[in-house]
């Protein structure tokens, strides 16, 4: 078996391990009466052991892929999103050993699973590095940043648990709406995975020529039936569907098409779930959150920001500036990805300051943690896909 295929098999093993571990954490929470009685629960112990096994195989994937390609596997969307999933599990393990609460695992692992599933929808082959990325700083900067982001993300997991426990899902309210919206977003990611896999299995392809932003001709391949056409498109595969509408040059119609397909699939999934359960989806998860101790979740939410913030600063700002100075001759260039790293940093700085004043614990803090996670995911995913810049090599 070549290193590259060993690597993908290890990733698969860890994916399965996370699924199994989630079940055990579920068992731990279900069987327990309260926080103090489930802390040393047998199910929880098995859960964390399986999680650690999954994490080690995941690390194995990372190292073998590094060996196969000769560079840190952090150079495209698939690679850094899977790495983010891995670090998320790592950060969970760290906080589990600080606070020993299975509830955290029950929610952190499924989120890691969704993230890895999402990552696998992007081209997974190993790509050689373009000149700008050929530097040791690639590994140093990106790994530190992703570790920081993963630890920060744990605060959102704790926040979500807090919110699920405390928001009354039986009466309409603003908070109920937004909590359901968060869950809905997760369902949309599933929608992306489902629709993308479906079209991949059917081997759908449609080719076009178009005129790009700088008025030069270019080519593009769709893997979804093209709902939207690129600026001035002409079909090279006439048997494929004709797009409904042509987009202006600044809109990447291919991305828009995948987005609309994912959202549509996600909505269908969501409606199906609503039909089956006949209540807001968030309330399905609620019983699992009820056992968690609120103060503990609040503290985990705060603590993980405290731990993650310095790591993030080091990776996403300091190392980033040093590398940018080596590669692009300036330590800061207001490139969108850089700006969004700064925004993330300012956001968590604001979070830390707010925690110093009274009245910002509990729900408010939990919401902030969730918003922080959204900003991180926006930078990780959307900035690459939507806003073009130096960093959009994915």
């Amino acid at each position: 078996m070549s290193l590259a295929s060993l690597s993908s098999n290890l990733l698969l093993v860890s994916f399965i391990a996370y699924l199994v571990a989630t079940l055990f954490f579920g068992g731990a929470v279900k069987g327990a009466k309260s926080e103090s009685s489930y802390k040393n629960n047998r199910w929880g112990k098995i859960g964390i052991v399986i999680t650690i096994i999954g994490f080690i195989t995941h690390l194995g994937y990372f190292i073998t892929r590094w060996m196969a390609s000769g560079h840190a596997p952090m150079s495209n969307m698939f690679e850094f999103t899977t790495a983010f999933g891995m670090m998320l599990v790592g950060a969970f393990i760290l906080l589990f050993f600080l606070y020993r609460t299975p509830s955290l695992g029950l929610f952190a692992l499924p989120i890691a699973i969704i993230i890895i599933g999402y990552a696998s929808m992007f081209p997974t082959e190993i790509t050689p590095l373009i000149p700008a990325l050929q530097s040791h700083w690639l590994a140093v900067h990106v790994i530190t940043t992703v570790v920081g982001e993963a630890i920060l993300a744990i605060s959102a997991v704790a926040g979500l648990i807090y919110l699920l426990k405390h928001i009354d899902m039986s009466k309409p309210s603003k908070q109920r709406f937004w909590l359901e919206a968060v869950i809905f977003t997760l369902v949309l990611v599933l929608g992306f995975v489902v629709s993308s896999t479906t079209f991949k299995l059917t081997g759908y392809e449609a080719h076009f020529t178009y005129i790009d932003k700088n008025q030069a001709p270019a080519k593009i391949e769709y893997n979804y039936p093209p709902l939207f056409g690129m600026n001035g498109y002409e079909a090279l595969t006439p048997e494929a569907m004709t797009p409904w509408a042509e987009m202006p040059a600044v809109v990447n119609a291919k991305t828009l098409t995948s987005f609309v397909w994912s959202v549509a699939t996600g909505i269908v999934l969501y409606l199906l779930l609503r039909l089956i359960f006949r209540k807001p989806i968030a309330s399905i998860f609620q019983p699992f959150a009820k056992k968690a101790n609120s103060q503990l979740m609040d503290e985990i939410g705060y603590r993980s920001v405290l731990i993650g913030f310095p790591v993030f600063t080091l990776g996403a700002l300091i190392f980033a500036m040093i590398w940018a100075h080596e590669a692009w001759s300036r330590f800061w260039g207001w490139d969108p990805k850089e700006v969004w790293a700064l925004i993330t940093w300012l956001f968590y700085a604001a979070f830390l300051h707010l925690r110093l004043s009274k009245g910002w614990e509990g729900k408010k803090s939990a919401w902030l943690a969730v918003i922080g996670f959204i900003i991180i995911m926006f930078n990780l995913i959307a900035v690459n896909l939507i806003i073009a810049g130096l960093h959009s090599y994915a």
């Binding site: 070549s2 590259a4 009466k33 309260s34 926080e35 103090s36 009685s37 390609s69 000769g70 600080l98 081209p123 190993i126 790509t127 050689p128 373009i130 000149p131 700008a132 050929q134 530097s135 700083w137 932003k213 040059a249 600044v250 101790n293 103060q295 503990l296 503290e299 705060y302 603590r303 405290l306 310095p310 600063t313 080091l314 300091i318 500036m321 040093i322 100075h325 080596e326 590669a327 692009w328 001759s329 300036r330 330590f331 207001w334 490139d335 969108p336 700006v339 969004w340 700064l342 925004i343 300012l346 956001f347 604001a350 300051h353 707010l354 925690r355 004043s357 009274k358 900035v383 810049g389």
Partner: protein
């Protein structure tokens, strides 16, 4: 301002909330509250004390954390708006032409693009109001820190071991109870706390155990780092601290390096390498199949020269300093300067070779080569023929007012006016020759024909010198030390005291992470048999504890 005297006899500065010495509440508000606010130890802060003059008001404005957070959020939001559309410097049009810029935003983003331009968002980070926001951020950090650090330092230094019961009772974690043997409980507690790395002080039946006080200085250290960083950024405005130039250099060319007096650079070669399938098809083959060519390297081979010490002004008396291959991520470094590989242009025309022929017979008088950087005036050919170059247009762009015009000095589209002289036509014939076209005023007997051309590549290099980098790095380092200090350690204090009737009182405070503090108190409590305590902000845990005991 007058001092306020506490019942214990201590004189506190005006504005004190909790007596510096014994901890008794000093204000009506503090006396009423059930759990006292321990931020900054209840010390007197300038912003809470003086509120009259304009200076007081400005001071109070900037020292407020609420205002600080609002400024942070304002910077955050404006930064985000700046990423909506590309910023000016990423737009591929003439940077100094407002009309072209506006047209660009309008063409690509329509009406919203026009508004974006009109509001100045296209150059967000250089706008005066963005700079003012950053200035306010810096001011706020400085003032807020000064407002707090000195009083905090004083009161943490001065704190006494024995506190008044009213202080103990108002702590978030508090418990009291009878004890069989209070003295032995105190000794045991002291022992255990020391084992847990607490600094323990005793005084007259009271213990103060304290840990990680240094973490309280974390925020002040990190703010200092931020200020140093901002100061470094400010310095780059001063000439001499910061050089940022670009140069285009052609293969074979020797040029003075802009911004670096006395240094010269010669480009020997520019090359682009691509990943080939042979080299790594097993690993990268699939990716190369999907996306096509992927660049492996941009490289300019250069020689760096320095003018000789005794070299005359303007002379090119040069010493070789070194040969180097500049690639992306590996700039050429010398004397505080860095030269970066940033851009390139391939195959610019270098010279063109022509021949003179007689149209009728096709007879050639020989070839001549025009160096497009420095076209000569006269080319002598065989059989007494010669060609005079009487007009040269490097970047020919049509005819205006009867004269050919050149768009730029770069030979993108060279055009020439030749005068051809032969023994038969000693007066000469004129001919205008451009790529793909020849114009003659009258029918000529002779013609200049294109034979071939030589090209060369051009490298785009950036030259930087940045004396502020070390200041920035220092700021970053201090910031990191500060955040780590404040985030990875917490300041914890545990007070244990014998009351008047032999009962024991237990109180504790931490600036964050109460769960972890409680874990430690529980260990001491068990070992030394201290009274049960209550966390007044966590009812769930106490209920659970009771449930667990049932």
């Amino acid at each position: 301002m007058s001092k306020i005297k506490c019942q214990c006899g201590h004189d506190n500065p005006f504005g004190t909330v909790l007596c510096e010495k014994c901890g008794r509440p000093m204000t009506e508000e503090a006396k009423k509250s059930e759990v006292v606010d321990m931020r900054y130890e209840g010390s007197a802060r300038r912003s809470q004390t003086y509120k009259r003059s304009i200076i007081d008001k400005v001071w109070n404005f900037f020292s407020s954390v609420k205002i600080g957070v609002s400024i942070i959020v304002a910077v955050l939001v404006t930064s985000a708006i700046g990423t909506l559309f590309p910023q000016k410097f990423y737009v591929p049009v003439n940077q100094d032409s407002p009309a072209e810029l506006l047209a660009y935003y309008e063409r690509l983003y329509g009406f919203i693009g026009t508004i974006y331009y009109k509001l100045g968002f296209y150059d967000m980070y250089n706008s005066w109001w963005f700079k003012i926001l950053i200035g306010m951020l810096g001011t706020s950090i400085i003032i807020a820190s000064l407002d707090r650090v000195i009083p905090l330092y004083k009161s943490l230094k001065k704190q006494r071991t024995k506190r008044h019961a009213s202080f103990m009772k108002r702590q978030r974690i508090y418990g009291e109870g009878r004890s069989e043997n209070a003295d032995s409980a105190l000794t045991k507690a002291e022992e255990k706390l020391k084992e847990m790395k607490y600094n323990v002080k005793t005084e007259d039946g009271a213990i103060l155990a304290e840990k990680n006080r240094f973490s309280r200085w974390g925020p002040y250290v990190n703010h200092t780092g931020l200020i140093i960083f901002l100061f470094g950024v400010l310095l780059r405005g001063i000439p001499g601290f910061y050089v940022d130039e670009t140069m285009w250099i052609r293969e074979g060319e020797l040029r003075a390096i802009p911004g670096a007096p006395d240094f010269y650079l010669e480009s020997n070669d520019f090359k682009i390498e691509y990943y080939s399938k042979e080299e790594a098809s097993e690993v990268f083959g699939e990716a190369l199949d999907r996306v096509g060519q992927i660049v492996k390297k941009y490289q300019t081979d250069v020689t760096l020269y320095k003018k000789k010490e005794e070299g005359l002004v303007g002379s090119s008396d040069l010493d070789v300093v070194k040969d180097y291959s500049i690639i992306v991520n590996k700039p050429l470094k010398f004397d505080g300067y860095n030269v970066f590989q940033m851009d390139y242009r391939l195959a610019e025309l270098k010279s063109m070779t022509m021949q003179l022929i007689e149209k009728k017979t096709g007879k050639s008088f020989g070839q001549f080569t025009i160096d497009l950087d420095d076209p000569e005036g006269v080319y002598k050919l065989n059989d007494g023929a010669q060609v005079d170059l009487i007009g040269y247009y490097a970047d020919y762009n049509g005819v205006e007012n009867g004269e050919p015009v050149s768009k730029s000095p770069i030979p993108n589209n060279p055009a020439f006016i030749f005068e051809m002289k032969t023994p038969e036509k000693p007066k000469g014939e004129k001919s205008f020759v451009a790529i793909q076209q020849t114009l003659e005023t009258e029918e000529n007997a002779y013609a200049v024909k294109f034979v071939g051309a030589d090209t060369r590549d051009i490298s785009g290099l950036t030259i930087r010198k940045d004396k502020t980098l070390y200041i920035l790095l220092l700021g970053g380092l201090i910031f990191m030390i500060g955040v780590i200090q404040g985030s990875y350690w917490n300041h914890r204090r545990i007070w244990v005291q014998k009351g008047e009737n032999g009962e024991l009182m237990l109180a504790a405070h931490t600036n964050k992470n109460w769960f972890s503090l409680k874990k430690e108190i529980n260990a001491v409590k068990e070992y030394a048999d201290l009274p049960n305590y209550e966390d007044r902000q966590d009812n769930e845990s106490s209920i659970e504890q009771e449930e667990g005991e049932k």
